[in-house]
């Protein structure tokens, strides 16, 4: 795997983490 390919994977992981954090935030303050 090249450095750039590892970067793509990192972007996807951070993306999923960001959306998950937002979902937990919404759940915490609206449930």
């Amino acid at each position: 795997m090249t450095t750039m390919q590892r970067t793509y994977v990192r972007v996807v992981i951070v993306w999923i983490g960001t959306l998950a954090a937002l979902y937990v935030f919404q759940w915490f303050y609206t449930s």
């Binding site: 970067t7 972007v11 951070v14 993306w15 960001t18 937002l22 919404q26 303050y29 609206t30």
Partner: protein, 565 residues
């Protein structure tokens, strides 16, 4: 506003022009002027991309939407990181290796001159109009806040930007964008801190967010499948994916940025700055709106935030009706504040029955506040004739001017100016590049030398600055600011993206297929816009798919060929 705040705005305007001129290099050569001699580091390109994308509309209108409706708009940005990966894998190496000045230049090599001509023309038309909206949005609001004529504010935004962009080209744009981005982020952070500090002593940040959550202001995910709902998880991940692919991958204002990077990998890395930071930054913008909502639960807000309209109605024949509404408003705002305090207390104790009771009282009072405000807005529209009036665009500037300390007011106003100017500069530079490279050099003077083309480039930039300023005045009549910009884009974005997808992803596509596909895509999007209530973010997907499918079919029917570009 105090003299200190005016001074800060003045210093900012002088400094940014001086800084843009100071940092420009090699502007005597075409490649230096339009592509910064492909010498910019990834972080400068990345910040420049973010600054161009974060316009004053984001600061003024998105915070207002956060105040009125909550964080739902945030969903529009969910697909951005994935779009950036797709662009990094596909568009970036294609454009970089093709050694082009504009994205549309590549289409002539791949298809023919008329496809380049059509897409470049669509870009000039839609981006020229959008630049006008980018000027008018903050100008209208700032003119009310600063007590200045809207035309003067338009000129305050357009003239300094045009000066440093004309002088330094894309380098001036990129380096000023970097400074402007720092100022914007600092300003947003300062607003957030001031809002938290302005909450009553007994209301913590946690209480504030609990209240906002109970008021439905923290719905960051809406999984509705109704295609007429504007912002849902699906419009944000599917519809907006195509918008971002088109905007960041094929729009000259963005493509020009990654063409200025030192290498393909630096260009890719610059895009990932947006992939990492755009959603958190937009979340900060929306949270500022939500915090303003909570702040104004405990600090009585004005019934209407536009003081000019407010004064006009007070002076009109319907002043009595307005005063009566104001009296009602004052009463329900008091009830809402008391209910909010009760809800915060109940949440702190954790008493489920008390939470349910206080929440019901709070939501009831909130609805009555909304109803009175809606009546007041309707009254303003009747009296002033301003049918596109949207009061939420004035909430954040009003908060800045009336609640923030001296010094920070000037800084925040300068940040709004910076947000507008960074976007305007990027657009002017791209408009000029496309005008000169796709039209003047291609059709009028192919043999012209760099010196001649640079003179024409600066003249083109001046023309587009004037054009955008005229559109800015006209755009005031068109309604909700953020939607206007996106609607302009959505009409063409998906179709232009479809042509690039054919160019890169369908090697058998020929020039006739691409051109007919483009026309078909725009036609279908126009039909969908006129005849259905499908949310505008879906138009991008529809346009791209129609162009791709029609392009494939027409290519096969008319004699598909292998790509030569």
């Amino acid at each position: 506003m105090s003299a200190i705040d005016w001074g800060i705005i003045g210093v900012y305007l002088v400094w940014i022009v001086w800084d843009g001129i100071r940092l420009s290099r090699d502007t005597g050569k075409l490649e230096g002027y339009f592509l910064a001699s492909k010498s910019l580091p990834w972080w400068a390109v990345g910040l420049s991309v973010m600054a161009t994308q974060l316009s004053a509309i984001t600061m003024v209108s998105s915070t207002g939407q956060g105040y009125a409706d909550g964080v739902g708009l945030l969903q529009q940005y969910y697909a951005l990181p994935i779009a950036m990966i797709i662009i990094a894998v596909t568009f970036v190496p294609f454009f970089r290796n093709a050694n082009v000045y504009t994205a549309y230049e590549y289409l002539e090599r791949r298809f023919d001159a008329k496809t380049r001509f059509a897409t470049a023309l669509l870009f000039l038309f839609s981006r020229g109009m959008a630049t006008g909206v980018v000027i008018s949005a903050p100008a209208v609001v700032l003119s009310v806040m600063l007590g200045a004529d809207v035309t003067i504010v338009c000129l305050l935004l357009a003239v300094p930007t045009a000066v440093y962009t004309m002088y330094g080209g894309v380098q001036a744009v990129a380096w000023t964008d970097v400074k402007q981005m720092y100022l914007i982020v600092f300003g947003l952070g300062a607003a957030c801190v001031t809002l938290i500090a302005g909450l009553p002593g007994e209301v913590s940040v946690n209480d504030a967010l609990n209240i906002a959550g109970n008021a439905g202001r923290l719905q960051a995910f809406n999984f509705s499948t109704d295609p007429s709902v504007r912002f849902t998880f699906w419009t944000g991940t599917l519809g907006a994916l195509f918008l971002f692919l088109s905007y960041f991958g094929t729009d000259q204002s963005q493509v020009q940025r990654f063409l200025t990077a030192k290498s393909v990998d630096e260009a890719r890395t610059s895009l990932f700055m947006s992939a990492y930071w755009k959603i958190p930054l937009q979340a900060l913008v929306m949270i500022i709106g939500v915090l303003m909502f909570v702040f104004y639960l405990f600090t009585p807000p004005p019934m209407l935030f536009n003081t000019v309209h407010d004064e006009r109605v007070r002076q009109s024949a319907r002043a009595g009706e307005y005063a009566s509404l104001e009296q009602t408003f004052s009463g329900v705002v008091g009830e809402r504040g008391a209910a909010a305090r009760g809800l915060a207390d109940a949440e702190r104790v954790g008493d489920a029955a008390a939470i349910a009771a206080t929440k019901a009282a709070f939501l009831d009072a909130e609805q009555r506040v909304k109803d009175v405000r809606a009546q007041a807005v309707a009254l303003v529209k009747d009296v002033t004739g301003d049918n596109s009036y949207n009061d939420v665009n004035y909430v954040f500037p009003t908060y800045i001017v009336t609640q923030m300390p001296v010094g920070l007011i000037g800084l925040l106003m300068a940040a709004i100016f910076a947000a507008a100017m960074s976007t305007i500069a990027g657009e002017l530079s791209a408009l000029s590049t496309s005008t000169v490279m796709d039209f003047y050099r291609r059709w009028v003077r192919p043999e012209a030398d760099d010196a001649h083309l640079l003179v024409v480039s600066r003249a083109a930039m001046l023309f587009w600055a004037l054009f955008a300023s005229v559109v800015a005045i006209w755009a005031v009549e068109l309604g909700s600011l953020i939607e206007v910009v996106n609607r302009f884009g959505s009409f063409f974005y998906g179709s232009i993206l479809g042509v690039f997808l054919l160019a890169i992803g369908w090697s058998r596509c020929n020039a006739t297929g691409a051109f007919v596909g483009l026309i078909a895509g725009m036609f279908v999007v126009a039909l969908v816009t006129i005849n259905t209530s499908i949310a505008f973010l879906w138009h991008n997907l529809i346009g791209a798919v129609v162009v791709f499918v029609v392009g494939m079919i027409v290519s096969e029917v008319t004699g598909a060929r292998k790509a030569n570009g």
